[in-house]
Symmetry: C2
Subunit: 229 residues, 2 copies
């Protein structure tokens, strides 16, 4: 019977350790200041092995961004039940978004700030991730509007396409900003559920009013909200 | 009578031209890729004169950020009437914000993306600008809540401090995101007024509901909005 060979660590495990270490260093230092020596040390690997597996600092950074983007999108997608009502889907998606960014602050730092550090090619990866999320939110808003039209009284002012896209951008920006706040240094940090509730309270209630034709009117100075329904 | 001296361009005019050129180049290329040669050429000045007046690429970048931040804050502040009702102040502030970022897309690019390019010292300048804006919005929300409590029926659920801060972060993030969208490459771009209306419709109406105790409830699956007032 042959002796068992000394098994080396499989390549994918090694690579994962390297990418884990790189995300941590990029999150802390940004792209330019991050050193491959530090990444190698943190990964417990030699620098030549990192270059062999992951090619260059630039490639490594791109790999980090794509992995973190896929993990975030995956977490949000798997939390959302496709046939649930639109508000429930938004709520579940927001909670998953805030839970994931809270659990992976370094991944979120790389996606939200550090990816803009480097320039064009990575800007594009992050912009595409963002565009994908905005598209999902656009569809949610449209479906919410349809639910509302189907389920209630007449007199609706339909949302136009550009307004829906604007709303989606507003919501995504609000979520990004809240994730940064929740992960920030400021004392008592809210939970993912609290953060999702804060956003849901403003966004969804405002959205339902919009769909039902209740709008803030610039003309009505004091009272602000005027029902046009 | 002495002959009039040939007047050279005053230093502050020269410096302004240099900073204008630098903002343009930093907005297009980011900090690392921006070249002092290009800035000098665009400013119609010699590189040694730029170094004499503005010291280093790093100092020049810092000067750009501080100037653009001050211009943006100034535009928003001067648009807001201190004694107007809270919703009118928010509306005027938002319109000024979107008008200024639309009129100065390069300044906004430097503040919103490119400032994160470089690392710690500039991150801090931008973070402070943002913190200042969040504080203004926190006060607006608090005053709006007081207006609502003063002007209407009982049964209010008061907002807690962390929730108000969360709302302010959400609103600021939404505004940043909308400014990026409005300045983006995507075809038919909305006007500053439209963008402000989009945000005001969701944020203010949602906010008024919140103040009056009308909240989205995770438990109420289909209908979503439940009045607790």
């Amino acid at each position: 019977m042959p002796k068992p060979r000394v098994r080396r660590m499989p390549r994918e495990v090694r690579e994962r350790q390297m990418i884990d270490a790189a995300v941590r260093v990029f999150a802390r230092c940004g792209y330019s200041a991050a050193s491959m020596d530090e990444i190698a040390e943190l990964a417990g690997a030699s620098k030549p092995l990192i270059y062999l597996y992951l090619h260059s600092k630039e490639d490594l950074f791109g790999t980090c961004i794509r992995r973190e983007a896929a993990a975030l999108l995956g977490a949000v997608r798997s939390a959302v039940e496709p046939h649930a009502p639109a508000d429930r889907r938004l709520w579940d998606g927001l909670r998953a978004f805030f839970a994931h960014t809270a659990a992976h602050p370094e991944g979120w730092a790389v996606l939200s700030c550090r990816a803009r550090t480097h320039g064009e090619p990575f800007d594009r990866v992050v912009a595409e991730l963002r565009e994908e999320i905005v598209e999902v939110v656009v569809r949610l808003i449209e479906e919410a509007a349809e639910d509302a039209v189907g389920g209630a009284a007449a007199g609706r002012a339909p949302l136009n396409g550009r307004e829906v896209t604007g709303l989606a951008h507003a919501l995504v920006g609000a979520a990004e900003s809240l994730a940064g706040w929740a992960n920030g240094p400021a004392g008592a940090v809210p939970s993912a559920k609290e953060t999702a509730e804060t956003l849901m309270n403003v966004a969804w209630v405002g959205l339902e009013n919009l769909v039902s034709g209740r709008r803030w009117e610039a003309a009505a100075s004091k009272a602000g909200v005027v029902s046009s329904g």
